[in-house]
């Protein structure tokens, strides 16, 4: 067995974390900026007279979409040159977790803030006179889409600069779990809050008179789509700051890692799903200004149901964190707990997106056919309940893994 000093482990963790941060962090911004550029090309081909304005709009939008990647760059650079406090495995885990949190967390916001940038270019080609209002709406929309990346950065900073090294040995797993939870958890909400932001730019070009009310609905929709990311942030905080000193190291460490994975992964689906519902809510306001109240109600109900899978994830995380475990060195108990977290987390992704699709269509048809609101609401709830069943199966398997094994 080769022996490696603790200092070397800390340096290694910092370098790998820096790689994760910038590597993952570049994915989203690149996709988002590509979307903006594609839409801008399309827009110029439709209306070449305003090509100068469209290019300007595209550049401004892309600059904002790049924010998340710049956050990742800052964290990456800090990780490269961070001297680190006390050399211990806990510090190493914190640095690796910080890289994962920021890198994964930047994906969603990068993609999401590309949508308003692209749709604003498209809108400009249709309504060149609206250039100023479109820019404002796009800026607000992109800024709101950055919120999940900001959450990831807050967690990354705490993992890097709060001194955990005096803590119990569980902290290695807890800090890794915390980083993974926030990183995965921000992906869905970042993409999701881009949908209403994009639709607000589309709607503005169609119904300029609805301008400020579309912005209001966009902000509400995007804010509610960020709830799963906030669940992930809460679990990350809990993993960092609850002391597990009295509990046995095995299998509690595995339970903490599992808790991070459950909420983080489950939040991906719910974030995208509630974003889909929010997007069609904004579209509905632009299409049918007289039905704004009905559209808002069904949008909020649809979003709330789409967030159920992430609440399942939160439930499993809480059970994993707070259930006491007898001390055991047996390897398979740890495996069972990690796999319980993975199961609910992965199982929630599909249901979250699926529920969002149902809500999206129901909302857009309420805007077109207000008289059938009650019928559509009923059908939506039945459809969502059925498509949630697989997430419930996953939760049952997780509970069996936690309690029966």
């Amino acid at each position: 067995m080769m022996s490696i000093e603790i200092e070397a482990w800390v340096r290694m963790a910092a370098f790998v974390g820096a790689g994760f941060s910038m590597g993952f962090g570049a994915i989203g911004a690149a996709i988002g900026e590509g979307f903006a550029a594609a839409k801008a090309n399309n827009a110029i081909s439709q209306n070449p007279t305003y090509s100068g304005d469209i290019v300007k709009m595209m550049l401004v939008g892309q600059a904002i979409a790049e924010t998340a990647a710049i956050f990742a760059l800052v964290i990456g650079v800090l990780l490269l040159f961070a001297t680190g406090g006390n050399a211990s495995m806990i510090t190493a885990a914190g640095l690796l977790g910080a890289g994962l949190s920021m890198g994964l967390g930047a994906i969603g916001s990068g993609v999401g803030s590309g949508f308003p940038a692209g749709e604003a270019c498209d809108g400009l080609s249709r309504q060149p006179a609206l250039s100023r209002t479109l820019t404002t709406t796009m800026l607000i929309g992109s800024a709101v889409s950055q919120t999940p990346a900001i959450f990831s950065m807050v967690i990354a900073f705490m993992l890097m600069f709060v001194n955990f090294s005096g803590g119990s040995p569980h902290m290695v797993a807890a800090l890794l779990g915390s980083g993974l939870c926030m990183g995965f958890g921000a992906i869905g909400s970042g993409i999701g809050s881009g949908f209403p932001a994009g639709q607000a730019c589309v709607g503005l070009a169609r119904q300029p008179a609805m301008g400020s009310r579309l912005t209001t609905n966009m902000l509400i929709g995007a804010a509610v789509s960020q709830t799963p990311a906030i669940f992930a942030m809460v679990v990350s905080f809990m993993l960092m700051f609850i002391s597990f000193a009295g509990t046995p190291v095995h299998p509690t460490s595995a339970a903490l890692l599992g808790a991070g994975l459950a909420t983080g992964l489950a939040a991906i689906g719910s974030g995208v799903g509630s974003g889909l519902a929010a997007g069609s809510g904004v579209e509905g306001w632009a299409r049918q200004p007289t039905a704004t109240g009905n559209v808002l109600v069904i949008m909020l109900v649809g979003q709330a149901v789409s967030q159920t899978p992430s609440i399942f994830g939160l439930l499993i995380s809480f059970i994993l964190i707070f259930k006491g475990y007898p001390s055991t060195e047996v390897f398979l108990v740890s495996t069972a707990l990690i796999s319980a977290g993975l199961c609910t987390g992965l199982g929630g992704i599909g249901s979250g997106v699926g529920n969002g699709q149902v809500a999206q269509t129901a909302v857009s048809w309420v805007a077109r056919n207000v008289e059938q609101e009650a019928l559509l609401m009923r059908t939506m709830l039945v459809g969502q309940a059925v498509s949630q069943s697989t997430a419930i199966y996953a939760m049952v398997i997780s509970l069996a893994l936690i309690f029966l094994v």
Binding site: F71, V74, V77, L78, I140, A143, V144, T147, I150, F151, M153, V154, F157, F161, V162, R213, T216, L219, I220, A223, V224, Q226, T227, I230, F231, M233, V234, T292, G293, L296, V297, L300, A304, Q307, T308, I311, L314, L315, L381, V382, A385
Partner: protein
């Protein structure tokens, strides 16, 4: 980096229970309240047909948010809840913008402020729901669509408080951290003031609006 997490605290021990007061945050909150009172006094002192600057700003706040409340709750209930919504927004906006003045910082940067405001909104929304629909119908809403959804509905309601307060807290704190780090990296050259303006004025304003609108929407959902 030492500025992170440094705070003046007053710890009062009552029998074996410790109460912690964050003195800086309390002072900043009172500063905001006094600032708002002064603003309100001067804005409403001489009301004229052709308004002065302060009266125009005050009327803009009142008119904008009163009409948003009317949109969501209808004319009758807007009379009850409108003033609260307007006051909530102005309080949050002043809280978030006070960080722009050197040596002062945002009360919303401490989780206690958004959490207590979130709890307040939660209580008001449920009180409004019970008063509007009656207790029986209010309870029945938890068993919708099927009876065994009740635990999930309750968790969903509680999670609203958590999400609304952590959203504000995370955004304001994130802004503070970014400005701090960039100032460390570039030694306060040019960039930090602009970044500070972006996060404090722009993000702070948006998040104050989002918090207020969500409180309003939560009331509307309970009432309908």
């Amino acid at each position: 980096m030492e500025e992170l997490g440094k705070i003046h605290q007053l710890i009062v021990t009552v029998s074996d229970y410790k109460m912690t007061f964050n003195l800086d945050i309390i002072a900043m909150t009172w500063l905001v309240i006094i600032g708002l009172l002064i603003f309100g006094y001067f804005a409403a002192r001489k009301q004229q047909m052709i308004p002065g600057t302060l009266q125009t700003i005050g009327e803009a706040f009142v008119f904008q948010f009163y009409s948003l409340t009317e949109d969501a709750l209808g004319e009758d209930m807007a009379k009850t809840y409108g003033p609260m919504i307007i006051a909530l927004f102005m309080f949050l906006l002043f809280c978030n913008w006070i960080g722009f003045i050197p040596h002062l910082y945002e009360p919303t940067n401490d989780l206690n402020t958004p959490l207590s405001l979130g709890l307040m909104g939660f209580v008001i929304a449920h009180y409004a729901g019970i008063r509007q629909k009656g207790f029986k119908k209010y309870i029945k809403a938890y068993f919708d669509p099927i009876f065994f959804m009740a635990p999930l509905n309750i968790i969903g309601e509680i999670s609203k408080v958590i999400s609304i307060s952590f959203r504000l807290f995370g955004n304001i704190m994130g802004g503070t951290i970014i400005v701090l780090v960039v100032s460390h990296l570039v030694f306060s050259l040019v960039l930090p003031p602009f970044l500070n303006a972006f996060f404090v004025i722009f993000i702070g304003g948006i998040q104050a609006f989002v918090f207020t609108m969500l409180t309003l929407v939560y009331i509307a959902v309970q009432v309908n």
